[in-house]
C-alpha cells in the first residue's frame, strides 16, 4: 500500500478566521466588540440598480445646455419657515463628542458653500457648527444632552430622533476616552466615564405622545421650524405612517449602512434593514396617506455617489443625507496616515475604532494634539467639492433620463440587476417585467 497524501487543510465557512478571531477576542477581554461606522456586510444596495437612460421612447436633455434643477424645499407641511436647499444632499447628524470641534466646523463650511444643511448630534449645539452652518438642523434626542430652548430657536429645523439605521432600538454610547472636559460639561457628565445614552425618549412613549411632544416643540418655537422625525430602517411603512400621523414635516429614514460613532458590532451587523429595502416602503406609506411630496422624505445609509443620490430619488426620496461619506471627504481613513493606522493595528479604509479617540486624521477625536492636524477650512473645501461632484453626477444621470429636475426621476427609470434588489426596490429585474412578489415572471 502506498502512502496517501493528507487531505489538504480545509477552513470552515461557519468558523472562518474572522469568526474565530472574534471568539478569541471575546474570551480574552470579556466585552463585546464596539466600533464606529455602519454595516460592513455585502448588502443589496444601489449598486444593484441601473438607470435605463433615454432612447426612442424617452428623449434626453442636453448635458451642458438644458437645465436640470436640484433644489428642494423641506418642511412645507406646517412650518412657517420651511427650508430651501440648493442641493438635495444634506449632512446627517453627527455629534460634537464623536467628532472634534474643527470637524464640525468643516462640515458647516462645506455644506454652506454647497447650499445645503448640517445636523447636530447627541451632544448639543456648538458654536463651531452654528457659526459656520447656514442651515442647521438641531437633533432632539433621548439623552437631551445640551438641550435648551435658546438653541431650539437658533436652529433652522428640529429633528426628533427616534432611531438610527446602525442601531434601530439602541441608544448611543460615547466611551470615556472621548469624554473630555468640554464634552463632559456640555453633557452634564463626570469626565472620563463611559457614557450611555437612553434608547427611548424620557418623556413620551408611542405615536400619540409623540404628537403632543411635537405640539410642544412647535409652541416653544412659535411654529417656525420644520420638525423632522428620524427613524432607523426597522419597519419603515408603519414608522413613516406614524411619523406623518404624529405631525412630522419631514421623515428621515436611515438604513443599516448608516454609520454610528460607537455601537456594538453585533448590533450594527444584525439589526435593521438595508436602505434599498426601506425606501419603497416609506414612499408607499406616504402615497397611501396622500402625503408623498407633502411630507418630505430624506434617506440615508450608504450614499456615496451621485448615482446613489439619483437612485434614491428615483425611488421616491426628496433628498438624501450623508455621514460616513462626508467624513471620508474630510480625510477620514485617508491612506496618507497608513503608517499610523498600522500602529493602531488596522489599515486605511478599515479603521473603525472611532470611540477610542485616537483618529490619526484628527476627525473622530477629542485629543487636541490630534485634532490640530485637521484644517477645517481645507476640510470644508473638500466637502464642498465632493457635494458639488455628487450633484453633477446626479444631474448627468437625470438629464440622460430626460428629467429637468432631480425630483422628476422615477422608478420607471430603473431596472434591477438581482432578484433580491428587484424584490426590495420594487423595480423590475433587468430585461424582464418581473418584480418578485408583485408580477409573474
Amino acid at each position: 500500500m502506498s502512502d496517501f497524501p493528507h487531505t489538504p487543510p480545509r477552513q470552515s465557512w461557519t468558523f472562518s478566521n474572522d469568526v474565530n478571531a472574534e471568539i478569541r477576542r471575546a474570551a480574552a477581554t470579556g466585552i463585546y466588540d464596539i466600533r464606529g461606522g455602519g454595516s460592513k456586510r455585502r448588502l443589496p444596495h444601489f449598486d444593484d440598480l441601473l438607470f435605463l437612460g433615454a432612447s426612442i421612447s424617452r428623449y434626453p436633455l442636453e448635458g451642458y445646455r438644458e437645465k436640470c434643477s436640484t433644489d428642494v424645499w423641506l418642511g412645507t407641511r406646517f412650518a412657517k419657515k420651511p427650508i430651501h436647499l440648493e442641493i438635495p444632499i444634506t449632512i446627517a447628524g453627527m455629534s460634537f463628542g464623536a467628532l472634534s470641534g474643527p470637524a464640525k466646523e468643516a462640515l458647516g463650511r462645506g455644506a454652506s458653500a454647497a447650499g445645503t444643511s448640517t445636523t447636530t448630534g447627541d451632544g448639543g449645539m456648538t458654536e463651531e457648527e452654528r457659526g459656520h452652518s447656514q442651515t442647521l438642523v438641531y437633533q432632539y434626542l433621548p439623552s437631551r444632552y445640551g438641550m435648551n430652548p435658546d438653541d431650539l430657536r437658533r436652529a433652522d429645523a428640529i429633528e426628533v430622533v427616534v432611531g438610527q439605521g446602525a442601531k434601530p432600538g439602541g441608544g448611543g454610547m460615547l466611551l470615556g476616552q472621548k469624554i473630555s472636559d468640554r464634552v463632559a460639561k456640555m453633557r452634564n457628565l463626570p469626565q472620563g466615564i463611559d457614557q450611555r445614552s437612553a434608547c427611548r425618549h424620557p418623556d413620551w412613549t408611542g405615536p400619540d405622545d409623540l404628537e403632543i411632544k411635537i405640539l410642544e416643540l412647535r409652541e416653544i418655537t412659535d411654529w417656525e421650524k420644520p420638525i423632522y422625525i428620524k427613524i432607523g430602517g426597522a419597519r419603515p411603512y408603519y414608522d413613516t405612517a406614524l411619523a406623518v400621523k404624529a405631525g412630522a414635516d419631514v421623515v428621515v429614514l436611515d438604513g443599516m449602512q448608516g454609520g454610528t460613532a460607537a455601537t456594538q458590532d453585533v448590533f450594527i451587523e444584525n439589526v435593521g434593514m438595508p436602505i434599498l429595502a426601506c425606501i419603497p416602503q416609506a414612499v408607499k406609506a406616504l402615497q397611501d396617506l396622500g402625503m408623498h411630496r407633502k411630507v418630505q422624505l430624506i434617506v440615508s445609509g450608504g450614499i456615496r455617489t451621485g448615482a446613489d443620490v439619483a437612485k434614491a430619488m428615483a425611488l421616491g426620496a426628496d433628498a438624501v443625507a450623508i455621514g460616513s461619506a462626508a467624513l471620508i471627504a474630510l480625510g477620514d481613513n485617508d491612506p496618507a496616515y497608513e503608517a499610523e493606522y498600522n500602529k493602531l493595528g488596522t489599515t486605511a479604509g478599515a479603521y473603525d475604532d472611532w470611540h477610542e479617540g485616537k483618529d490619526p486624521a484628527g476627525i473622530t477625536t477629542q485629543d487636541p494634539e490630534l485634532y490640530k492636524r485637521f484644517d477645517p477650512v481645507l476640510g470644508g473645501r473638500r466637502l464642498k467639492n465632493y457635494l458639488k461632484v455628487m450633484t453633477l453626477e446626479a444631474q448627468t444621470i437625470a438629464r440622460a433620463c430626460g428629467k429637468n429636475h432631480l425630483h422628476n426621476l422615477e422608478p420607471e427609470d430603473l431596472c434591477a440587476l438581482t432578484i433580491e434588489a428587484a424584490a426590495m426596490s420594487g423595480v423590475p429585474l433587468a430585461g424582464t417585467n418581473w418584480v418578485p412578489g408583485k408580477t409573474g415572471f
Binding site: R144, P149, R196, D203, I212, W223
Partner: protein, 229 residues
C-alpha cells in the same frame, strides 16, 4: 393681573402672548383660566413673570421654562416642567409621569404625589415632592436634587450619575448602581434649603431623610458587572 381665557382664546395665542414678554415688561402677573387639561400650556417662557393656571393641565405644562414662576392650581399631566432651565414651577395637586424630566435648572415643587419616572435624566433641576413618587424615578439622573417627603417606588435612581436623592419614607427598591449614602452636614444644609424653598419646611426635617446616590460601579464597563445592566 392679566387674565387669559385659554378655552376662548386658544393655545397658540396664549404662548405667543407669553413669549412676547421676553425683555422688559410691566405685565408680570398672569392668570390662565379654563385650561381643561390642555397640553403645552406656558411652554418656552423666558421672562421673570408669575403665571397661575387655574385648573389642571395636560402634557408638558411649563416645558423648557426659563425665569418664570408657573403655579398650577390643580394637577399636572405628563412631563410637567420638562427640560426646565430656571425659574419655579409649583403644582398644587399631583403630577403624572416624567415630572421634571431632563430639567437643567430651576425648582419644581409638587405638593401632591408624582407618578413614575419623576426626575428622569435630570440634569441640574431641583425637585421637591411633598407626597410619594412612582417607579423608575431619577432614572439616569445626572445632576441636581430630588427630595421626596413620602415614599419612593421601585428601582429608584437606576443607572444614576451624580444627582442627589433624598427620601423621607420607604424606598421599595433601589435601581442598578444606586446605594444609600452617608448624610453629611452639607447635605442636611442643602436639604433644609430645598425644604424651605419647596414650601415644605413645616412638614419635614432634614434629619428624617436618607440620602441615595451613585455607587459609580457602572461608570466604566466591566464584564463582572454585566448582570447589573
Amino acid at each position: 393681573m392679566q387674565t387669559f381665557d385659554l378655552e376662548a382664546q386658544g393655545l397658540r395665542a396664549l404662548n405667543t402672548t407669553l413669549h412676547a414678554l421676553k425683555g422688559q415688561t410691566n405685565e408680570t402677573a398672569w392668570e390662565i383660566i379654563n385650561p381643561k387639561g390642555s397640553h403645552a400650556i406656558a411652554v418656552g417662557l423666558d421672562a421673570p413673570v408669575d403665571v397661575t393656571v387655574r385648573g389642571s393641565t395636560g402634557y408638558y405644562c411649563a416645558g423648557m421654562n426659563k425665569q418664570a414662576t408657573v403655579r398650577v392650581k390643580g394637577s399636572a399631566g405628563p412631563g410637567v416642567a420638562e427640560n426646565m432651565m430656571s425659574g419655579t414651577v409649583i403644582i398644587d395637586g399631583d403630577a403624572s409621569q416624567y415630572a421634571g424630566a431632563t430639567g437643567r435648572g430651576g425648582l419644581l415643587v409638587i405638593k401632591g404625589n408624582a407618578s413614575s419616572r419623576c426626575g428622569i435624566s435630570m440634569k441640574g433641576i431641583e425637585i421637591v415632592v411633598h407626597g410619594n413618587i412612582g417607579h423608575m424615578s431619577a432614572f439616569m439622573a445626572q445632576s441636581g436634587s430630588l427630595v421626596v417627603l413620602g415614599d419612593a417606588g421601585e428601582a429608584l435612581g437606576d443607572s444614576l450619575y451624580e444627582a442627589k436623592l433624598f427620601v423621607r419614607g420607604s424606598v421599595k427598591s433601589l435601581g442598578a448602581d444606586c446605594i444609600e449614602k452617608e448624610m453629611r452636614p452639607e447635605h442636611l444644609e442643602l436639604l433644609a434649603d430645598l425644604l424651605k424653598r419647596g414650601e415644605a419646611d413645616g412638614k419635614a426635617k432634614p434629619e428624617e431623610f436618607k440620602r441615595y446616590g451613585s455607587a459609580r460601579k457602572l461608570y466604566t464597563f466591566n464584564i463582572d458587572n454585566a448582570s447589573s445592566y
